[in-house]
């Protein structure tokens, strides 16, 4: 069960009640406005309690909210989109959507991870977990973009790459490694936006970028909290503890210098105002592309290299590691 869905249920009821009272108020001679004000106050108090300072675990749930705008909602706001399908080898993976697009006047290559909005669509899209053929489609489209000189715009939203038998048989590792390589050598600007979940290598495969934008309540992590808990403590139920320790929120990543900017969400999350959120994100993507457009390919690639070369913290003093005696 999604924590946010659970907690916002009371709020939605209050909202409904306020709307009813307002409607009644408009019709009746009786003045209901003191009651309305009292409810509105209660509403904003609960809202502050829930969303005032969210824990990392709550943010993970916000990122997974079933009503949260998905990549398709963002792509729908592009002026034009012509989808390209398939990896040319095996299959068209519906967890990846990509193609030529117009962001305002600008031609770009848009590539996105697409989760489903209901069970039926989730089955078709494998819950947004791409298979190797999905990553090979990503790689193909990124290569085409670089070939044509079109900037690459990606939307990241996945728990991680698909961990099934078929994916192993078709070399998931190689498919992701090849994506990382393609994005590294691309001669065009790349802007990646984490709109929901950024799970592990499966997310990184689409987010080696010159600019990384994160939504306020998105997360990006070395492994999903459940995955991390399973790996370290063989206990997926310790996911909340993992989420706390992993430093996976957008705010953490801005501090690490991995995310470049954060797009604020309305109180209650992106799904409370999808249109507003999406237009802010697209505006930031456009601004980032404007800044990057003037850079020659060689300079762009050099800056990208240096950006990733710098990331990482280590001590530079030599430790004495050898003990010769018992």
């Amino acid at each position: 069960m999604n924590l946010i869905v659970e907690r916002e249920r009371g709020l939605l009821e209050l909202e409904k009640r306020i709307a009813e009272l307002r409607a009644a108020n408009a019709q009746q001679s009786l003045d209901l406005s003191p009651e309305i004000r009292a409810l509105e106050e209660k509403y904003s108090q609960i809202q502050r309690e829930i969303f005032g300072s969210m824990t990392p675990w709550q943010k993970v749930h916000m990122a997974r909210h079933p009503n949260r705008p998905t990549a398709a909602d963002y792509i729908a706001e592009f002026a034009q989109f012509d989808e390209l399908h398939g990896d040319r080898h095996f299959r068209d993976d519906h967890a990846i959507v990509g193609g030529f697009a117009k962001l305002g006047e600008r031609s770009v290559m848009a590539i996105a991870q697409q989760r489903g909005r209901d069970t039926k669509e989730n089955l078709r899209r494998n819950f947004g977990m791409p298979s190797p053929e999905g990553y090979r489609k990503v790689q193909r489209l990124a290569h085409l973009a670089s070939h044509l000189g079109l900037p690459i715009v990606t939307f990241v939203d996945t728990k991680g790459a698909d961990p099934g038998i078929g994916s192993e048989e078709r070399a998931q590792s190689e498919a992701i490694a090849a994506c990382l390589y393609e994005f590294t050598v691309a001669r065009v600007p790349i802007v990646a936006t984490v709109i929901g979940e950024g799970g592990s290598g499966g997310a990184l495969a689409m987010s080696i970028a010159d600019r990384i934008i994160m939504l306020e309540h998105s997360y990006y992590s070395v492994a999903s909290p459940e995955g991390c808990a399973a790996i370290l403590w063989s206990d997926a139920s310790k996911a909340e503890e993992a989420a706390t320790r992993l430093k996976l929120t957008a705010q953490d990543l801005l501090q690490f210098g991995i995310a470049d900017e954060i797009v604020p969400e309305p109180t209650g999350g992106a799904h409370r105002d999808p249109a507003g959120t999406i237009s802010r994100v697209l505006k930031n993507i456009g601004d980032a592309l404007d800044e990057l457009a003037s850079l020659p390919a060689a300079q762009l690639k050099e800056a990208r290299y240096q950006k990733y070369r710098r990331i990482g913290a280590w001590q530079n003093e030599r430790l004495e590691v050898v003990k010769t005696g018992p």
């Binding site: 038998i165 998931q172 992993l246 690490f256 990331i311 010769t324």
Partner: protein, 284 residues
């Protein structure tokens, strides 16, 4: 050779006196450790390849001297990670257990007469996981190799990205990829030897970006770990799944090479690449 390498070897011999015998985990044969070492840690009865320490690997692969690169790059604790233990305490335990400063040793040396940049990962240090130090040392190695036009051979052994360093660990996939790309774009030769096990973030980055990918027999290689897949599909996987032989059959790797043939095989590969390099240099 780093100054602690010979000392590590001396210590190893002491340990061998205390534990002279090892049991093969595959066939249960009890083996005299000195015989096992002489047979390159391959069980003489069933051919099981024991997981090797990075130092032993360097000793059986490199002709003579080995000049370490990045040995002074040591782990910090960027997330100030604590679970049952502090990350710093875990690292201290790994240092004690493995006698290594991190999960990879990088450097230069000769393989069959060919000067080569060599990286060797060690599963005994934090499961060979890649954190910032592994990413940094591998990148330094590839940069050095690029500078001197050396071929590069990396032996992988890794459980993936290191959880305790969070996103900074994941970013090492990007960092090493960038280093591999630069290295290869200059026309240099990159070989990986996948040893047991190679999974997660290492298999999904430089391990599978090489020009030639070799693997040791029966090495477990894959993206997702066996346990994760079994939990996802709720059934047992066949024994052969994700082995080197399975990957060879599926077309993911170039060759499966027994450890006893590995040095000779690498030498031949380096020779082909050197011939190509000479031809290109002569033509330009």
């Amino acid at each position: 050779m780093p100054d602690w390498l010979p000392r590590r070897r001396a210590k190893n011999e002491q340990a061998e006196d205390a534990a002279t015998w090892s049991k093969c985990p595959k066939c249960s044969e009890v083996l005299y450790r000195r015989d096992l070492a002489a047979n390159l840690w391959v069980c003489p009865r069933c051919g099981h390849h024991f997981r090797m320490s990075a130092v032993d690997r360097i000793n059986i692969t490199v002709d003579g001297d080995f000049k370490e690169i990045g040995g002074d790059v040591l782990p910090g604790d960027p997330l100030e990670w604590v679970d049952k233990k502090k990350y710093a305490t875990k690292l201290a335990g790994d240092r004690e257990k493995s006698q290594l400063s991190e999960a990879v040793i990088c450097g230069t040396g000769k393989i069959g007469g060919f000067e080569t940049a060599i990286g060797v990962m060690d599963f005994h240090f934090r499961g060979g996981t890649m954190g910032t130090v592994v990413g940094e040392r591998i990148s330094m190695l590839l940069e050095r190799a690029r500078e001197f036009h050396l071929p590069c051979v990396i032996f992988t052994a890794s459980g993936g990205a290191r959880m305790e360093e969070g996103m900074l660990a994941l970013m090492q996939l990007a960092k090493t990829t960038a280093a591999v790309a630069r290295f290869r774009e200059d026309g240099n030769f990159f070989v990986t030897v996948l040893t047991d096990p190679t999974t997660g973030g290492v298999s999904a980055s430089f391990a599978f970006q090489a020009d030639v990918i070799a693997a040791e027999p029966k090495a477990m290689i894959g993206f997702a770990g066996r346990r994760v897949i079994e939990q996802t599909i709720r059934q047992k996987l066949p024994d052969q799944f994700q082995t080197a032989e399975f990957l060879l059959e599926k077309g993911h790797i170039d060759m499966v090479v027994p450890r006893t043939d590995l040095k000779a095989t690498l030498t031949r590969l380096l020779d082909y690449a050197a011939a190509g390099h000479r031809a290109r240099t002569a033509a330009s």
